[in-house]
Symmetry: D3
Subunit: 319 residues, 6 copies
C-alpha cells in the first residue's frame, strides 16, 4: 500500500488540539501536491450573495468542526484515508473587493488542481464558487451534475443586470458549455419563487428538477435511482448546497427555506451515489455568522465526509 | 386585472433594505383599507401567558423575517399577490397593563376589519388573541376551525379563577357561541396534561382531537381528509400555534413540547386545506426572546404564506 | 391510596417559581428516603469526557427545564406520581479532581439507593456515570440493557491506556460481570469509527447492534420488538444517551452526530418498553455549555418523564 | 458562637453540583424560619412590566449563578455567614394572572418575614415588587431609601390609567406613606424621559436625584457621602435596579440604557453604605430571556453578596 | 409652534407594537418630505467591507431598537421632536451587486435630501457610505468633520487596487475636495496598523488625530475642546463609527478593537458638540449578525439620539 | 536584517481566508524551529479546572481570532515581526485523561523550547498550564513574575487532597523553587475567598498583592511602578489570566468575577512593562464554550500581541 497522508490520531492528539485542517489531514500547498488524489479545498468567498453574506467564513469553521470526524465510515464500511491519498490544499485565492477577478483566481487555482490529477472536494463559499470550479473541471467536456439545493440557482440576472450572483452559477455554466443540462438533476428545490418562469428556463434546457414534494412522494431510494439515470455513468460533479437541508438541521445559512431534508435523508441520498465517477464535489452556503456555535458547519463537513468516502473508494478502484 | 398592492421587489430593493412590513407589502392603515381583501395584521400581546412571556414581540420579528419570502409559491403554483389585494394593516391595538381592555380593543379592531370585508391573516401574540378574533368573525354564526397545536387550549381556568389565559381561548369561544365545537378539529396535541379530565370537556363538546400519535399513524393525507370532513364546506378559521411544530423546527416559543411536527409535515397539511373557504387565520406563540436570531419567526411567516396563498386563491374565485 | 409525594402544582405555584427540583418533586435526602420507590438523581460529572466537557452542568439545567412537565401523560394515560412514590434524591457525590474516587463515591451512593429498594432514574453526567450505577444494580446478577446512543461506548481504552472514559463504560461493565452482553441491545449507533474493529468486540460478546440505518429500514416498532426479544423479561436497565437524537433535536451535547433520531421516534421507542421490569434508567450527555438556552435539557427531561411513567406503572403493579 | 446555617462547601460538593439555592444556603420554609436573621427571597414576577417581560425567571437563574460565590469577602474582610444566620426562604407567592392579588400575596409574605424579625434580601422580579416589600417594612414608619437605577420609577400611571407598573412603585410608596421622600436618594438616573415633568414630581417631594452625569462629576465617594447624608442614621432600604449598570455589564434586562455604571463603581458605592442600618434590600430587573448565559444574573447575585455582607455585619453588631 | 411629526406615544401604543421606524417617527417618502428639517435615513449597505460583512442589516435592527427611546433628553433637557420637524425618510437606494452604482445611487439620494433643505442623520451601513453623503453635503464647500473611530479610514487602497472600501472613504473625500482635512479631527484611533505609513498621509494632510491613549490622557472635556478648535464654527459633519466604542459596549461590529471608549465617554463627548452647526451625521458599522440580540444597535441609536438632540436644537435656533 | 517569518498579508490573503495560525504566522514544528526567537504556543488543556471547564478549546479559537491583528502597534510604534523571528509552534502535547502525565508532557515540550533559545508566548489552557512552563523556564533560577488575575491561585489543595488544580499552580511553583515569591506581584485580585487564610500564605511568602481596590486607588501607572519595583531587572515571566478583566470585557471564562479591569487598563499596564526582560508569558483561562462568538478570544490575542511587541523589542535589543 502506498504511503497516504493520515489524519492526526485522536488517540495521540486530542480532537480539540492541533491546528485546524480539514479532517485533521496535513496541509499540503499546491506546489507540493503531486501525488495527492483528493484535495480538500476551502473557497472563502461570498461576493455573489445578494441578501445575507457569511459563507466567506465557512472554510475556517468547517475545518474546526471537521476535527470531530473519525477515520472509518460505519455504514459504508470504508476507511477513506487508506483508499486514497488525501490532503488539505488550503484555500483557493480570492479578492474580496473584485468579483470578476475572484472568479478568475479561483478558476486558475482549480485548473492547477485538475492538471495535477487531483479531484477537488470543496467547502464554499456561496454557490457562485461552483462556477469557476465547473469551468476548470468541465473545460474539456460538459459535466453531469447531481445538485442538492432549495433553489435552482439558474436565474439569469439580479438587480437589472448582474450576471454573476449565487443565484446564477448554473445558468452561466450551461451557457458556457461546462455543464450538461441534460445530465443535470436538481433535488430538493422548494423556495418561493419570483414567478413561474423561474424554473421554465431550466426545464427547457432539459434539467431534471425534483422538488421537495416529489422527493417526499418518491422516497429517497427512487429519487436517487432517477438521479443516477439522469447523470449516467460518465464523470459527475456533486454540488451540495447546505440549504437543501431543513433549517432545523442547518440554521447557519443565508437563504433558509422551511420544509427541507433531514441530515439522515441527505446522507442516505449521498450514499446512493456510491460507484459513480465523482470528478469533484462541493458543500456550499454554510454561513458561520448565523450559527456561531458551528452546528451547521459540522453538518457540512459530515456531508463532505460522505462524499470523500465515495471519492476515495473510486480512487482505489481506479488503481 | 385590478391594481393590487404588490410587495417591494427584491430585484429593485434588496431584501435587507426598506422598512419591515409583512411580506414587503405596503402598510395601509385601517381607515384607508377599503378594497383590501386580505389583511395581514400583528397582534403584539402576551398578557394571557402563564409561564414564559414573549409573543408580544413576535409581529415585529415576523415582519422582519418575512422579507425572505418571494412572490410565487413553487408547489401550489400560485402568485398570491396577483390573485387578491393584500396589505399590511399594522398592529391591532393592545393595552399591556389590562387584559380585559385589550380583549375589547382587539375585538373592536377585528370587527372593523370584518365590516370592511377584509379577511384577516394574523400574527400573534399568544393564543388568547384568537378569542377576540373569533368573536369578531363568528359573531353571526359559530365558526368551524382547524386548529394545529401541541395543547388543546380548552382549559377552564388558571390559578383558581383566571378565565382568560392562553390555555383557555377555545373554551371561552365555545361557551360564547362563536366557535362550533362539532366542526372543530385539533391536530398535533401532545403536551403532558394536568389529568385525564383535560381533554374530557373538549371531547364532550364534540371536538375531534387528533393527538400526534394518531397523526403519525394515519399520515398527513388521512389526517387532513378527516379534518376536512369535520369542518365541512362552510367558512372555517385556521389557527396555527407554532408549538404544534417540534422545538427543533420552532425553538422560539413559550411552551415547547418534544415530538411535534416537522415544518414539512405542517406545510403538507396546510396545503390540504386548499379550496376551503378560509374566513381568517392566525399563526401564534412565536416568542422572539427564546430565539433572537429569528429562525422560528421565519417558520411562522412561512406558514402564514401557505395560508395566504390559499386565501388569495379563494378570493380570486369569489370574484 | 398511600400518600405519595406530589409535584408542586402549576395552579398554585407558577412553573417559573419555586426552587428547581426534578419535575417539581420534593427534595428528599437519602437518609430520609425510606419508602421512596423511584428516585430521581443527578450525577454532575464529566471526568470521563475526552473531547468537549460540559455534562457536569446538566443536572442543574435539567431540573430547571423539568418544571415544564405536567402530571399526566397524554398518550400512556398515566399519572405517574399517583402510581409510585417519587422524589428528587439530589445529586450523587463526585470528586471533580479524581476519577477513580468519583466512581467509588457514585457507586456507594447507588448501592445505598438500591439497598433502600429505590429504583434510580438518573440524569448524567457523561456516559461513564452509567458504570458505577450498573455496578450497584447489577451486583448480584448481570443486567440486561436497552441502550440508545450514537456510539457503542465499548471501546477498550483511550490515549494509550486510560480505561475509564465516556467511551468505555459498557466494556468495563461486561468485563466486571455486571452487564450481560447477550441481553444488551444498542440502538441508533452511527458515529464514524476508528476502524472496523470498533464494533467487533461488542458483536463478539453477543451484543445486538441496531445501527441507525437498520433502525430506519425496520421502523421503530420492529426495532423495539427486536430489542424486547433481546432483553427478555428479566430486569432491564435503560441507558439513553442524548446524542442518539439528531443534533437538530439535541444540539447541547459533546459528540453530536448528524443523522440521528427525532424526539418523536425516541418517544415511540421508549413507549414500546411498556411492561418491562425497568430496574433503573439514565439520560446522559446533555451538555449545557453547548446549549445555554436549555432546549436539549428539556428534551432530556422529557425522555426521563417517558421512562418515569413506565417505571411508575410497574411499581404500581408490583404492589 | 451560635450555630448558623452555612453554605454547601465547594471543597465537599463542587459548585456545579447540588440543588440551586441562594449562595448555596439551605432552603428554610417560612414556617421553620424562626431564628433566621437575614432571609434571601426570590420574587418571580414581572406583571408590572410594560415593554419587555422576563424578570419572573430571575430568581431561578440568580440562585444558579450564586453558586459561584465564596464565603469570605476579600475587601470588606467579612465572612457573612459567620456573622448572621442566613437562609434561602424560597420564593414569595405570586399569581401571574392577577396583579392586585399578587401585590397582596407578596405583601403578606413579607409581613410574615418582618414579624419573624428577619431582614429580607430579595431578588426580583421587576421593580414593582419593591412596593409590597416597602409596604411590609415601612408599615410603622416611612423608610429611607438608597435607590440605584437608570429610571426614577416615580411615574404616575401608564397607558391612561394603570397605577401599578414597574415605573410607578415609588410614587405609590410615597403616596401610601411607607417611603419617606425626603430621606430617599436616587443614583444613576439617565434614561430618556417622556418630558421634563417626569422628575418634577419626585423633586417636589424632596427626593434627592443624582443623575449619572452628576455621579460621574462627583465621583463615587462624594456621591455616597451625599447619599448617606440624605438617608441619615435611621433604618434604610436599598433598592438596586440592575439597569443602573451599563448594558455592557448587565445586558440581561428589559429597559437597558447606555452610559451606566460599571460593576466596579457599583461595588464601591455599595460598600460605602457600610455601617448603615439596612432594614432590607433588593436587586431587581434581571431578565434571563435577554441573557440566557446568565452573565447578568451573576452580576446581580454579586451585588446581593455585597449587600449581604453589610447586613450580616450589622446583625452581628446588634447582638 | 409648527405642527411637527411626533413619535408614536409609548402611552398609547406600547413600545413593542407598531411598525418599526427610527424613533417611532412616521415614515415620510422623499417625494413628500418637503418641510422636514432632520431626516433619519438608513443606508443598508456593506459592499465596502473587506473582512466581516453585516452592516447592511443594521438599519432594520436599529429602527427596531430605537423604539426604546423616549421623547425628552434628561441631561440636555431637550425635547428634540418639539424643536425640529423630523421624519424617517426610509432607506437610501443601493445595489448590492455593484459598488460603483451604489455609490452613485446613495449620492443622488442625498443630493435630493440636501436640495430639500433636510439635514440627514444616517444609520449605516459600513463606513464607505459616508463618502457619497459627504459628496452631497460637501459639494459646494469642503466640510469640517468630527470623526469617532478605532481606525482612520484613510488608507489608499486594498488588495492591490480597490479604491473604494470601508477603509478608504476619507482619503477619497479629501482627494475629491468634499472634506477639509485641516478641519478634520479623528478621535479614538487605536487598531493595529499595517505600518507607520498608515497615519502619515492623514497627518500630512493636516488631520488632527487623537489616538485613544491621548484621549485618555487628556480627558473627554479637553479632547472635545481640541476637537472644536479644529473644526471651528462652520458647518461640520459628525461621523460615528460604532467601533470607536470598546467591544464590551458594542460587540456587534466587523472590526472590533479592544481598549475603546465606553458609551458614557462617547455620550459625554457628543454632548460637547452642543452648539455646533451640524450639517449631517452618521452612525456606521453596526453589524447585526455579530449581535443578533441587538445590544449594539441600541447603543447605535442612542448615539443617533444624542446627535439628533443637538441638530434639533440648532434647527430651532435657525428659526 | 535577517529573514524573519512574516504574517500572511491581509492585502494578499483576506483575513477570513487561509489556515488559522497565531497572528497568521507560519506554523513551524518544534523540530524545525531553530532560529525562532519567540514561539507562540497553544496549550489546549483544562484538566485542572474545578468548576466550569472549557479552556482546552481556547488555542483554536484564539488562533482564529488573531487573524484580526495587523503588523504594526499604533501606540508602541513597533512592528514586532520585523524585530524578532516569530512563529506558531503549534500546541504543546497533552493527555486529557491523565493530569500528571500532561504536566510532564507540557514540561518536556517547554524544556525543548527553552533549550532552543526560544521565548514562549503561550495561549492556555487553564491556569495550571503555567506550572510546567515555569518549571521549564525557572529550572535554573527561580523566576520573577507579574501576574494579572482575579484570583491568587496559591491555594494549597482542593477537595481534600488534589494538589494540582487551576487554583494551585503558583503555590506549587514556589514550593518547587521555580518561582521567586519575593519578586512576584499579583494584580487585580478580587474574587470572594474561602477565608482570610487564602491570601495569608501568599503574603507570608513575600508576594506583593495588589487587589483591585488598591489598583483603582493607585492608578495604573503607580501600580506598574510598584510592580516593576517588585520584579526588578532580572528575567520576568508574565502571566495574564483573562479573568483579571471584568466579565463585560471577557465573558468567556470559567470563573468570572465582577468589578475587574477594562481592556484599556490592561493594555496600559502591559505597556508599562516595556523594557523588562520578559522570558516568557501566557494568556490563560479563555473559555470558548462560554463565548462561542469569540469576543473573549479576540481580547486574549490582543493581550498576547501587546506582550509580543515587548518581547520582540527586547529580542531586537539583545542582538
Amino acid at each position: 500500500m502506498p504511503e497516504f497522508h493520515q489524519p492526526l490520531s485522536g488517540m495521540k492528539t486530542p480532537r480539540f488540539a492541533g491546528l485546524s485542517t480539514f479532517m485533521r489531514l496535513p496541509h499540503v500547498p499546491l506546489e507540493q501536491a503531486a501525488g495527492i488524489e483528493i484535495g480538500l479545498i476551502g473557497v472563502p468567498w461570498d461576493g455573489g450573495t445578494t441578501n445575507r453574506p457569511g459563507p466567506r467564513h465557512a472554510p475556517r469553521q468547517m475545518r474546526d468542526q471537521s476535527s470531530m470526524l473519525r477515520e472509518y465510515h460505519h455504514a459504508l464500511e470504508i476507511a477513506p484515508f487508506k483508499l486514497a491519498n488525501c490532503a488539505d490544499l488550503g484555500d483557493a485565492p480570492v479578492n474580496p473587493a473584485d468579483l470578476m477577478d475572484t472568479l478568475e483566481r479561483i478558476g486558475d487555482f482549480y485548473k492547477s488542481v485538475r492538471d495535477l490529477g487531483i479531484r477537488p472536494l470543496s467547502a464554499g463559499g456561496d454557490h457562485l464558487v461552483s462556477l469557476p470550479i465547473l469551468r476548470a473541471l468541465g473545460a474539456h467536456e460538459p459535466l453531469a451534475m447531481v445538485h442538492f439545493d432549495a433553489h435552482g440557482d439558474t436565474w439569469d440576472d439580479y438587480f437589472g443586470g448582474s450576471k454573476y450572483t449565487h443565484g446564477t452559477p448554473f445558468r452561466r455554466a450551461i451557457e458556457e458549455g461546462v455543464l450538461d443540462p441534460e445530465r443535470t438533476v436538481q433535488i430538493g428545490l422548494r423556495g418561493s419563487l419570483y414567478g413561474p418562469q423561474d424554473k421554465r428556463w431550466a426545464l427547457d434546457q432539459g434539467i431534471r428538477i425534483l422538488e421537495i414534494e416529489e422527493c417526499v412522494a418518491l422516497g429517497t431510494r427512487e429519487v436517487m435511482d432517477q438521479a443516477r439515470a439522469v447523470v449516467g455513468e460518465r464523470p459527475v460533479y456533486v454540488s451540495f448546497d447546505i440549504d437543501c437541508l431543513d433549517p432545523a438541521f442547518a440554521p447557519g445559512t443565508g437563504t433558509p427555506e422551511a420544509g427541507g431534508f433531514s441530515t439522515r435523508e441527505a446522507q442516505t441520498m449521498l450514499r446512493h451515489l456510491r460507484g459513480l465517477d465523482i470528478t469533484g464535489a462541493d458543500v456550499v452556503e454554510v454561513s458561520p455568522p448565523f450559527d456561531p456555535a458551528g452546528h451547521t458547519a459540522l453538518v457540512g463537513v459530515t456531508m463532505m465526509y460522505e462524499l470523500l468516502c465515495l471519492m476515495a473508494e473510486q480512487a482505489d478502484r481506479r488503481r
